[in-house]
Symmetry: C2
Subunit: 973 residues, 2 copies
């Protein structure tokens, strides 16, 4: 049967080159373009179900390695662009030789693989093969030998390989790997995989009233659930147990092909690949081989196509329809299916993203209510009424030297009213609410995680369990080899690791670069400040009255936009810099690489996103000085003040522009717009090669199609984006209550966007087991903690909340806010202006001004200590600081209480875990009983048999089952 | 052989009653006393090695259950005191009847137990036996039947039992339990015990220079290590693997008696006991049976005697000599041995206590240095110099109404100088140091814990693994039964748990009682305040000048002692109340019981210990008012002020008295003194019964001796004591830098004291596996967190640090501290005193006073707003608050950084874990290879045999090993 399949499939690839030989140059041109296009538009895949199996049509391809095919030009071959075409053409014609050899090799392989169900040839034969490497001249040859050596090792490990060098992608050879049943079992045992046993049990819902409510709720929510099979079986659960060959009878092995699903199979193969080392001077695992170009890529296959045409249903298609689809944006995610297809780590990311989005709903609701409260009470706000009242005749000191003149406070009416929208008592409530919200979110996530752990049978699994996580990275091994090579010449001592001294240069570079980057950010913030100050001064000088009127708005908006652009550019730069710096460090393991990268990226991106905002919140308007002795930058520019009504308004503008801009541009433009654009380009181009192209696409094997997809680059960027957003939602929420709403809207899109990317644009990632989201949880906690402090400072220092409270309860004559505006303004005698700084137009308001007012708590000119800081200042400051202490500690305490009150493990889950344990023990105890009875039966039969044996002595056939029983029962002892 | 042993041992117990029958009344009297004495002086045990085994001398006693023997009087029999002796005498004479029956029963038992190595009788026979219970009249009979039923169940589980009702302790029957090998294996598998395999590997020390340093260090520290075997093998470790019968070949089973050590055996038996349920109306496990008095006690046996006489060495004796001994106080603890003997949970407690004590060494060193710095700089301290200077003629306002008069500031010279000892800049440094110290301690503990986890093969073990932890407590089950009984009459619905409504009364009682208790504490604190105020006033009025001079000291000291006594009494009361309240709550599991108990005890004891201290630190002297408008309690007592120099001095006195007193009295008096006293009493009494007594003691079986020991009551009190001490060491360390030193001295004794208690005075606890110290770690973290905030407040509000800083940098004319004292004192015009409050002796100082001074920042009488709070007050307050914010956040940040910088898993341990994993995989892969080869060999032999079989057909004997091979190899597939 396998023979037939091979014959049936073989002719087509071998006949093709023959057929297309005449116009092979055109073919090459087409291929170059085709690859480019494929990389751009990977969603549209073709029918190639047969590529999922070996050529015998029976053995699944669990993993694919690709390598560059040998040709004179050498080097990278997977991503050749069109200028390499002549070389390629030569390569193709030359390849005839090796090709036929490979053909032979491949057949030999297939034969060998088929044999492997019976015992393979004794390992000794292959083990002797060294990695001659160095002795051969050509680098390509060396690579080939290394490959052969490695593949021999893989076969020793029990894997079955099939080569395909005759593909439609030039210069790329494929090694398809299949893990046979016994290898899967062995590895599942080593990896301590928990698998469902035959034993099932019912998950009881809570009884009585709760049950009814639950049923009702789930009925109401029914349309929100995706149409995925798993929902139906949620009341029945298979008891799980760590897989072990000795306990095979526990598991339902009726269908061995599907007992381990495709994700598990590929991760098992990946585990073996990582473990297998090929000794050539130094140990080379798959990572080193990929790093040194012996192989170009390694990936598992997608389950199938997502095209509507293909009839057979598969998980990928289901995910595409029920998950990676904007039209189902309002539905829950089919997390179980995501996990089944992509593994636990990616499943957890989407579960986390889903929970975060869900949690944003109440937050944005409350945020909107707070904002509306601000809108509703704007007319009852006494301070802004006082400012706006025309009778209120307060003359303010000039806002800049010389060119500006005195101004009436009532002209600041607009900003004062607008300030109230974001600066009212409700914001204090809202920031407390958001701090608790963050704590609730953390707790909910812990619970959700626990629930998922239980549902995904990860309880009892430890992250460190799989030793492959600790495998050194290729780059690290390479460095160690280099070091030991250079040392070998001097002394015999073998180095096994990089010492601190080896790493010192990298560390130094890291520190210097990090400081430099942070310095750049600060410099840019300062640059924007200078821009604002100088533009304002310049615009004030302009003679055009309209320009002068719109000065504030123009300057603010342009500055915010400049900031945004800079942030967006630096974001990309910093991402690259952080990666470069981490590569420089040569961390030992993948885990350490990831952690260091995350740490650096996080610091840089956070500083980048938040430094302008922090400047506005806490420094702007504080280093102004006072009339008569202003502070100057570069001796000529006065530091900028905030508009009347506090800096909160400006903070709010800056925040909303940064947040909205970042999300709109990064998400919609970069992630949606660019692919759309590429599609358009492709459409125009495709008219030229239309028919032929489609023909070929259809014939592409699964592993070829997947080869065109982008490799999976880790979840770090996805998480990082969300963490920065979480920062926007929590850190300055006191000044911008609409942040959660914007985040919510963004995330609804984000989920589907990411889902689309994973399902259609990326190669299938190797499923990784994970119990939690790792370092990200700690970062979230850290952000939530910092948020409490920052919000405390925003409320007490940036907003006018505390001065208002102090006035109302300490200074107000009638306990109302009347007179507050007057109380916050100090007096200045205009004759005390420094020379050359007084206004050029003292009669601008139409009357001579003797005393002008400015916003500060200082002694009036007629006091004993004129312009000294007044007692009110200290009183307000003390109250502000006291508020910070109280707010911080109360909110932190409340968060801790929330943390403590909500149990980490949901009640029902802990009950079920307990129940499962008891069931498991029952199961084993019953087994013991059966064994015992077995033994007794045996003893009695043995006794009987002894009698019969003495009678007839020829019973070699019956001896077999009996002795088997014996081994069983001795084991049970 | 077993027959012989039985015969050899049997005669002595059976002959004894016969022999002593004539003077059995005297015997009873003696017994009563003897028991009393035994309970008091359990250290001196006797030679009774033979009690460790069943009567056959071969099977170890792994666990012992005791039960009351049936007699007319009924009830508790284990703790009869001498007034019960007549009843006992009657009981004894009556017991002849049942006794002989029991004798018969016991023999039957022994026979049965011997049989159990061969398969036990089919389970069906025993299972039919119900628990008739209710039908029988006598409660004792019911209990006996329940016992029989339970023991039958235990035998079903494979345990072997032996009864001994004819002991030297009247009224107590013993059930000795032995777990045979197959049961041990089965349970070890279920409990997923990790056991050492045959495979060993060497732990490599770090190379090069580090190695030399390590060797040197360990040589220097050699005398500090206890003389325990384990130290020798620390370079070699056995690879561990979860025990499994299928993998038996991995383990070294050459000595099956010692493969599982005594601690493991007893915990396995305990696991079975917990799991085994006897159905009588409701499920009764061992806890319920103990609770309902069916059994009176359940405990495993100690390993042997600690007496010098007994020759054979055992772990207990070794522990007694090398650990529970004051003479080795300077040595490390043999933690490995402690764990081997008592299990991981107790091992972790002592490891934690040891680390804590070790960490206290640097803390107390720095504390002493800080204190010495204070002593050394006391003469350079300008403020105290200014106060002491005789030329400084500041007249202070009277300290109390009417009877007190004006006084010179220079009379406060002594307290001002003393204050400097504890109130100097070094204390600020010290409290930062201690905050970081606490963070370091936490981190070190995490690492130590990880190291121990690795050494004890607990990596991979999860606390929830053992399902027995979730078993409901007996009291809970009883309550559920009661509820379902009362409900059964109404409706058929079966209740399985207690609802909120059932628990509401208990919860309400809890809340009310907790509030009441806290209220009592506060009331007592307030009472002491009143005592201080009124005594002071009374003493001031006394005409004796000496009394008046010593007023301050007398009042302070007596008040502190009253506080201490109250704290000590309430400590005991609160412990009892917390337990009572928790019992009232009927928590479901032991774990939940423990957690609730700890929570309540912690709150009550903390409030009790720290509320007087918090009052002194933060409230005293702040609610005083000002001259002319003092604050009065009960209209006549002025609130107390602090002595000049701040309240820090008083805080320090209170702290040291509380801490020292608590430790000295609770430890030395309660824990050392009382046992000593008991020993003395015993010595006097023992003269009367000397010889006979000793004779009998020698004959006591191991389980009888252990029966006299106190049952193990959990580690909660031990931990609690240490946590309160940790509170003293960290919470107010800013005011009392010697606290770590006192704690250190106390703990050195404490370790050995606790060790003595565990080794000699308590029954052996059942070994419990634990990876960490559980809730205590969180409590420690919480205390450390609160400590940061409290220290920030102590420094900024209680000490004069901030006012001094503010003066120096804001107000001082020359930047020095000169003039500080004057600056802190406000002016008061004596004519502004309220009527009837002015002093009776205005000329006390010899001159008329017009303006007196008082310590506060207020406006002088001649200002526009006399006696108003001044600008300086607000400035100082603002700086104080700012200091709190900065201190809190900086220290918390630094702690977090310490937390983050120090990896939780020590480098070498993580490397070794990794290495072990790789070794394990290698081991398994090699096994696979061997199996494969085996299979091949088989195939070839099978082929050969097939040929030979056709030749001769009679080979039933060779068939056996072949088919066994076959089963092996099929399993490997």
């Amino acid at each position: 049967m396998t023979e037939e399949a091979e014959v049936g499939v073989d002719p087509s690839p071998t006949s093709e080159p023959e057929q297309q030989a005449p116009h092979f140059l055109q073919d090459v041109i087409f291929h170059g373009k085709f690859k480019l296009l494929k990389a751009l538009t990977p969603e549209e895949n073709t029918h190639c179900q047969h590529g999922l199996y070996f050529e015998d049509g029976e053995r699944r391809v669990d993993y694919v390695l690709t390598y560059p095919l040998k040709k004179p030009s050498g080097g990278r071959s997977t991503r050749q662009s069109s200028h390499l075409l002549i070389e390629n053409a030569v390569a193709r014609s030359l390849r005839r030789g090796p090709h036929s050899r490979d053909e032979h090799h491949r057949k030999h392989q297939a034969q060998k693989a088929k044999d492997s169900l019976s015992p393979p040839s004794p390992p000794g034969a292959d083990v002797e093969l060294g990695c001659p490497g160095e002795t051969l001249g050509g680098q390509e040859d060396h690579k080939m030998f290394t490959r052969e050596k490695f593949e021999a090792k893989l076969r020793d490990m029990g894997l079955e390989l099939e080569k395909d060098e005759d593909t439609k992608i030039q210069g790329v050879g494929f090694v398809k790997i299949h893990a046979p049943w016994n290898v899967l079992c062995r590895e599942a045992e080593l990896m301590k995989l928990k698998m469902p046993t035959k034993k099932m049990f019912e998950i009881k819902e809570s009884s009585g009233v709760m049950e009814k409510i639950n049923t009702l709720v789930s009925k109401v929510l029914e349309p929100l659930h995706p149409h995925v099979e798993e929902r139906r079986h949620r009341h029945i659960k298979h008891l799980s147990h760590t897989f072990s060959r000795e306990k095979q009878h526990l598991f339902d092995l009726s269908d061995k092909d599907y007992f381990f699903d495709s994700k598990t199979r590929s991760s098992i193969v990946f585990e073996i690949l990582k473990r297998t080392k090929c000794k050539a001077k130094y140990n080379m695992g798959i990572t080193s081989l990929l790093g040194s170009g012996v192989y170009t890529a390694a990936y598992p296959l997608h389950d199938g196509d997502i095209n509507e045409e293909s009839a057979e249903p598969n998980d990928r298609k289901l995910l595409y329809e029920e998950w990676a689809n904007y039209s189902v944006f309002y539905k829950y995610q089919p997390i179980g299916l995501v996990r089944k297809y992509f593994g636990e780590k990616i499943g957890l990311y989407f579960a986390w993203l889903g929970l975060y989005t869900q949690m944003l709903i109440p937050a944005s609701l409350v945020g909107v209510i707070v904002f509306l409260y601000g809108c509703a009470t704007v007319d009852d706000n006494i301070p802004s009424m006082e400012i706006c009242h025309p009778k209120n005749n307060i003359t303010m000191c000039p806002l800049c030297d010389r060119v500006c003149s005195y101004w009436k406070l009532s002209t600041a009416c607009g900003t004062a009213r607008a300030s109230h929208l974001f600066d009212n008592p409700a914001t204090v409530f809202f920031s407390i609410f958001m701090a608790l919200w963050a704590a609730m979110f953390m707790e909910h996530w812990k619970r959700r995680q626990m629930r998922l752990n239980y549902e995904w049978d990860l309880t009892g699994f430890e992250d460190e369990e799989s030793p492959s996580q600790d495998h050194p990275r290729a780059e690290y091994e390479f460095r160690v080899m280099q070091k030991s090579l250079s040392k070998d010449q001097k002394l015999q001592h073998k180095t096994e690791k990089l010492s601190c001294r080896d790493r010192l240069p990298a560390y130094m570079t890291n520190i210097v670069m990090m400081l430099l980057m942070i310095g750049v950010t600060f410099a840019i913030v300062f640059g924007v400040i200078l821009y604002r100050i100088s533009t304002k001064a310049a615009l004030h000088m302009s003679s055009n009255p309209i320009t002068r009127n719109h000065v504030q708005l123009t300057v603010k908006t342009t500055a915010a936009i400049i900031n945004l652009v800079v942030i967006l550019i630096l974001d990309e730069v910093y991402g690259a810099v952080a990666r470069w710096l981490t590569v420089l460090e040569v961390p030992k393991t993948d885990k350490s690489f990831e952690e260091r990268l995350i740490f650096k990226t996080f610091i840089l991106k956070f500083v980048n996103a938040f430094s302008p905002i922090i400047y506005i919140a806490f420094f702007r308007g504080r280093l102004v000085g006072r009339p008569g002795s202003y502070l100057y930058v570069f001796e000529s520019y006065r530091m900028e003040e905030c508009a009347h009504g506090g800096c909160l308004m400006e903070l709010c503008i800056q925040l909303s522009i940064t947040m909205l801009g970042k999300q709109l541009i990064q998400n919609n433009l970069f992630e949606i717009g660019v692919p759309k654009l590429k599609k358009l380009i492709r459409y125009i181009q495709s008219k030229q090669v239309a028919f032929q192209e489609e023909e070929r696409q259809k014939k592409l094997q699964r592993y070829e199609t997947d080869h065109f997809l982008e490799p999976f680059a880790g979840l770090t960027p996805e998480y990082m984006e969300m963490i920065i957003q979480f920062g926007f939602v929590t850190l300055f929420v006191a000044s911008f209550p609409l942040a959660p709403l914007f985040a919510l809207l963004n995330n609804i899109i984000e989920i589907r966007l990411d889902a689309k990317k994973f399902v259609t644009e990326l190669r299938r990632p190797v499923a990784a087991r994970a119990k939690d989201i790792g370092i990200w949880y700690n970062i979230l906690r850290g952000v939530a903690k910092v948020a409490v402090i920052i919000n405390a400072f925003v409320i007490s220092f940036t907003s006018d909340f505390i001065p208002r409270m102090v006035y109302q309860y300490m200074y107000s004559p009638d306990g109302s806010m009347h007179g507050f505006v007057n109380h916050t303004l100090s007096y200045f005698n205009v004759s005390h202006f420094q020379e050359g700084k007084e206004t050029l137009d003292p009669l601008h308001l139409g009357y001579p001004v003797e005393i002008c007012r400015y916003k500060d708590y200082r002694e009036p000119p007629w006091s004993a200590t004129p312009y000294e800081i007044s007692k009110e200042f200290w009183a307000v400051l003390a109250v502000r600081l006291a508020f910070v202490i109280v707010f911080q500690n109360v909110v932190m305490l409340m968060s801790d209480i929330v943390d403590w009150l909500i149990p980490d493990i949901p009640k029902d889950i802990s009950l079920q875990i307990h129940k499962e344990k008891i069931l498991l023990i029952d199961l084993f105890m019953k087994e013991e009983q059966v064994k015992l009875q077995f033994r007794e039966n045996r003893l009695s039969t043995a006794a009987k048999e002894n009698c019969s044996k003495s009678n007839n002595n020829n019973n070699s056939t019956t001896a077999h089952p009996r002795s088997r029983l014996h081994t069983d029962s001795t084991k049970s002892l």
